[in-house]
Symmetry: D2
Subunit: 370 residues, 4 copies
């Protein structure tokens, strides 16, 4: 039993939950429920005064995650997910309430213009199959009931709508190394990167924390180019009465997602706010000080644009997260429902498409469970 | 409180779990855990002797789900998912163990030849961006650290790898009506069906049941064209000591998935077994008698091929499920891990890509939580 | 010297333009050669005073081409091309000078937004093949010289850059009939129209006439929405000293093409002029009175937009040409070179991609030979 | 009668084939016209006894074309095309007869499996536009005549059906240089090679020569893997009574194209013969001794497969032509019509799609004019 588990047990005990040895596994849910309750009932603890002795495999306070998982590792910080951490996160899902964090993608959806466009096209239509009598169509004599089908062919980018960037998405420096030092000359490919593609991203089940900066600032959505600093994050968390613990998925809300509407067709409106985001210092605080195992937001890039202080690249936060820390990055998560219900902590569940060579999971539907 | 909930409460009570009123919400997990325990500790109950008075909204024993959700409904049986049902399902996830039910998709993957082919192509490579200095590339003076990126463009079918068929996938009869009577002449489209596309499939969180026919039959994988009957399903469930309850996701294992390997490249081997599947009677028993809210398997089509008894179409089970019952259909789910660990019940979690016009969720990574 | 060359010489020497009735059909080639000479040496003749007795199979003055080629015909007016007509057209190519009428297509190219976008993506790169050692790559032991390859995968519309609309492009009326009465319910398809697709367009070799309206009007390019009328066409032809004869391909220059540049990236500039075009009356005059076998221009739509006089559709000229007359329609032809050299007549040669199901030839490179 | 026609007559009447030195360059057209006549009336001349003093810019007998066109050149041997050479070639088109050398491409077409697959998909259908009332559809009030359209979206390789390989298609050696020394590290790109793409291939108009090896060997089609040697080419030309002159496009017939049928769907039959082709020595003879400006065949690769004599690569002929000589390579040309009519010489006309980044022209419809 790890120190952290001890701590939790202690909390449970202190709250009146007596947990006998043989019951521990069966009652994991209760244990965590207690822990969550503890956190939320003691908001004063969550600021200034960091929880003592909190630990998680692979993470070091002040340093973060880095490349600690062996030279062949393609998973990064998510290696720290364990049965215990998942069970604890799932135990937060007490009511069965589910928040769909996915935005709907269509050909009209807002996206960064540097990504390839998208079309979802009817490939087979029932009348088409019926008319064409092609080799794939069932012969009418064995199909008197006229049973046919729809299918679609898609031309689609791996960086659209609700997404989780894989660790190969960003490279930094000569020969273009990405997380864990995989280089283009060795691991690049015509059909996507051959290390750290989306198929290597494990299912993500972790405690989620919403940092609702827009709500704290009392705006519908932050203005474009708003820089979200460490101070903003700290103040918002304090206002929420919530703190981040190592292993959490942290989602930062700017309010941009409220303009997505049916399918992100109002590019002007979304674009007006989409450049608000967290700066490098704030992100480092989340990861290296608080232990976030993944961060995300409701914008297409998470980080503030343009990047302040010209740190050698226009996307310092992407580099820090994906390359330096091996921390996956969630983008365009729909956070309006969570905000509306002040659901600041939850169980975050996401499983990206298992597509070899994709650099990111796209058009996802991550879930927040309560 | 519904009758079913009463029943569950009763079980909990009878098993020694005293649940005080104010604790009910917080301890939803425990309640269900008790129910699961009851089922598993009393396997004799699970056969012949159906649980009494089990009820779920929208489902009628003997009839199934049908079109009970209003004339505009696009969701079908999944409407029956509730906070309570989800909480009960999630309570099964006691240990944090997660089974990834997704198969990896690549250009080489086995698929029905009538679906469009797939390519995942490097759209932007770091060296490409660097060399090309195109409009999307950061100017080198503001990017001295040479930070670049990978992205992929995909041409992909909505019916590949691990998938969940949407309710518009299959049509039956003149003017090609699908679930709830939506017709091609009104709701067809160039960019996918305009009712019941994949974007309408809600997150699926439900108790999952594996019916491991291959294990029961003591074979690695069923022979091609093997017809799985109601009797096979009943016997396998009895052998497992498990029963289906209304609202469950039922996954039937043929063993075909074991041949998928890294990315489904061995078409001959997969194809040799892929035609084994459940027949119409067996499927009706699962849905109309047992209350399955979704069914699936580890083959590309779930139903046995060719269909026995020529019932007016070559895919009577697809029609029954998708058109008549509004029951989503899971295909190519990877069930080997569950089988190996005899994990016959679990919490099933799946969230399809949220893509407007797609007829199915594709290249998915559904999860089985224990 | 062949018999034909002898005859041509004879005509050139002594003809004077009068062609006896019984010779007309048999001597199409000669007639044209004579006509061309006559026109060029006698510009005054070309207006008001139409050439006598000009005839061509399938065309009737005042009525045009219509559906005269049998109920299965997919070719339309181009059926009138014969060895004789081609030989006569080719005889215009005296100097070997060639004008490339194709505009370069790239992902950035201007197009009507209702067409699907385009990407040309490196599918195999030599370093990619080298690195990946995949099944398609030659084993290094049999490839010590490191011979590799580039190939591209494209996602592309059949209606981009220099194009020739096929006869199935436009439909008019209930059940969507196109040229020759082919209807959607019978001949539509999931993979393009099954009658009159681009693969049915024969090689086009015919006398070409440039009607350089922009030059006649002494502007770089006509203003957007400029309506080119019959009078404009007549006056421009008179100014050029050229007349149209039955069987000619007529290209009308607005000057819009001059803004295409390297690859049509300046959408604003092109869009400013692209709506200039020929009106319905002018087009009818070209086809039904002058015998044009194909018409085209340097804009994306040929016809003026919006269509004046609201004739039941916003694209009356497309309907008239493609549906009513079976006359193919050329778009975005690059005419600046011809204009610069006052090359008002030439031999037009175009051969569209032979792709089953494409509704048009795209990214073409038609030639004008002199 | 024009000056040129006079000159031609003169040549025809009195020439006899002797062309004075200073006239050679200026009178290329005439020379060719004379040569053509000579060849056809004096077949005995065409063997052993090479035409004297034949010269063409950029070509040297024994050496071929090589990299003679300046360090920025992307065009290669086709630079030698001139107004004179084109005029001479076009002068062969006496009868207006046209042979369509294009094979029809569809999703079913035979291709090398290492190229990306193809789909031509209805993007807009008239009923789809009508039903969907989307933003691109005309409002019904301004479209009472129900005028709609078909368009297709294509996912297609640049190396399918009738094609002409661009000079960037093949690279040889470290850093992957192609024709003229353009290297991947400088001129590669994500969106196709940035030098020598298909958009740089000029219109090709040249005298064409068919070397009908299959007819000479009296077979429908050469057996798979048949090696066509210099001797085979010489004997076939002698049997035809034809010789190659510098600047000619040479097409070698194996008979494979006869199995293409409607759209190349019979892969087994085509594949049985497709590996027959010309060897390196034969190709060198055509290019370096005879002056072919382009070569091609009716197979997917032109060269015999496997390559005999293991010369450091499996595709020595591709390397020789594209890299070393800058000679474009035609593939899958349909030569059955030419063979049937014993049309051994003709005017070859081809204009590849003008698509930036494509490595080859694809699904072409080159023409042979007589």
């Amino acid at each position: 039993m790890t120190l952290r588990q001890n701590l939790r047990t202690l909390l449970l005990v202190g709250l009146g939950g007596v947990v006998g040895g043989s019951l521990v596994l069966a009652l994991g849910a209760r244990r965590e429920a207690g822990a969550a309750l503890a956190r939320e009932s003691e908001p004063l603890l969550s600021r200034g005064q960091e929880p003592q002795a909190v630990s998680i495999r692979g993470w070091e306070k002040g340093k973060g995650w880095a490349w600690n998982w062996g030279k062949d590792d393609e998973v990064g910080a998510l290696n720290a997910l364990t049965n215990e951490s998942r069970a604890a996160a799932l135990a937060q899902a007490k009511t069965g309430q589910v928040f769909d964090l996915g935005l709907t993608y269509s050909r009209r959806s807002y996206k960064w213009p540097g990504h390839s466009p998208g079309e979802i096209i009817t490939f087979r239509s029932p009348d088409g199959v019926h008319r064409m009598h092609d080799a794939d169509a069932p012969p009418l004599e064995s199909n008197p009931d006229l049973v046919f089908w729809h299918s679609a062919a898609m031309f689609i980018s791996d960086n659209v709508a609700t997404q989780i960037d894989g660790l190969a998405h960003i490279t930094a420096g000569p020969d273009y190394p990405w997380y864990n030092g995989f280089t283009e000359s060795e691991w690049g490919g015509d059909w996507g990167p051959r290390k750290c593609d989306a198929a290597t991203i494990p299912p993500i089940i972790a405690r989620g924390v919403l940092i609702d900066v827009a709500a704290y600032k009392k705006v519908d959505a932050l203005a474009g180019h708003t820089r979200i600093t460490k101070k903003d994050l700290e103040e918002t968390l304090a206002w929420e009465g919530v703190s981040v613990t190592p292993g959490d998925v942290v989602l930062v809300r700017t309010g941009t997602g409220r303009f997505w509407g049916e399918d992100g067709a109002d590019h002007a409106r979304i674009g007006e706010h989409d450049s608000a985001g967290v700066d490098l210092e704030g992100t480092k605080w989340l990861v290296a000080e608080q232990g976030a195992i993944m961060v995300g937001s409701d914008t297409s890039g998470y980080e503030v644009n343009p990047a302040p202080d010209a740190p050698g690249t226009g996307i310092p936060v992407h580099r820090y997260l994906l390359v330096d820390q091996g921390v996956h990055l969630g983008e365009l998560h729909y956070l309006e429902g969570l905000s509306r219900e002040k659901a600041y902590t939850f169980c975050y569940v996401a499983a990206v498409n298992k597509i070899k060579g994709a650099a990111a999971g796209f058009a996802l539907r991550p879930l927040a469970l309560r």
